[in-house]
Symmetry: C2
Amino acid sequence: MMENDIFKALADPTRRMIFEKLASGSMNASSLRDGVEISQPAMSQHLAILCNAKLVRQERSGRFVNYEVDPDGLAMIANWLAKYRAYWPARIDALKDLLKDMDQ
Amino acid sequence: MMENDIFKALADPTRRMIFEKLASGSMNASSLRDGVEISQPAMSQHLAILCNAKLVRQERSGRFVNYEVDPDGLAMIANWLAKYRAYWPARIDALKDLLKDMDQ
DNA sequence: CCAATACATAAGCATACACTTATGTGATTC
DNA sequence: GAATCACATAAGTGTATGCTTATGTATTGG
């Protein structure tokens, strides 16, 4: 199932870090390793899992592979979260900011 | 870390099912087992993990323990998701519904 | 071509995780 | 107050997961 892939993908802190890095701009696998203590195969495996979860997508560019955030995965999480909107505390500031940003 | 606890808690399909069940109304541990093929210790362990992640909270009531959705955990996910709002596709219907519901 | 680069895949290993059975703990009921 | 009920905890076990080293596969540059 897709939902399961997403949550399993995000359950690993290294993958969330990779995802966060990609959110600041698309990058190839080597650039993602810069400043991070992680082996090349480990990075490759994490990226495969993120891609499979539709959180990240890839695009080949010569011998490089460019990775970027895939909105599909985020939309799935938003959908999941929406099911429980009745429980969201209305006063959460971050949430208000989110609304302001999106309601344009 | 709290964020890690939440995503790890949600990575298990059984726990997401338990959470979904609780979202439809607070329940004690025995009621949560109704119609679900899960042992009593397994349920207890899952609930402990969900509580630790602030996704669920408990309240003792005699010899029963009542479990309910904890908004704190959901707010944390909303916060996490908000960091990537730039990537949310604006046209997702569920998202629009969500916005409409919340912008009141 | 052939060496080097960028990345993927395979296989093995240590740890984490979700389950099991067994037992403990606190509250209720007879 | 002894038995029972609702739940928690302990200990053990099989499997999943994330890493490692080694090798494979495109692509590019000299």
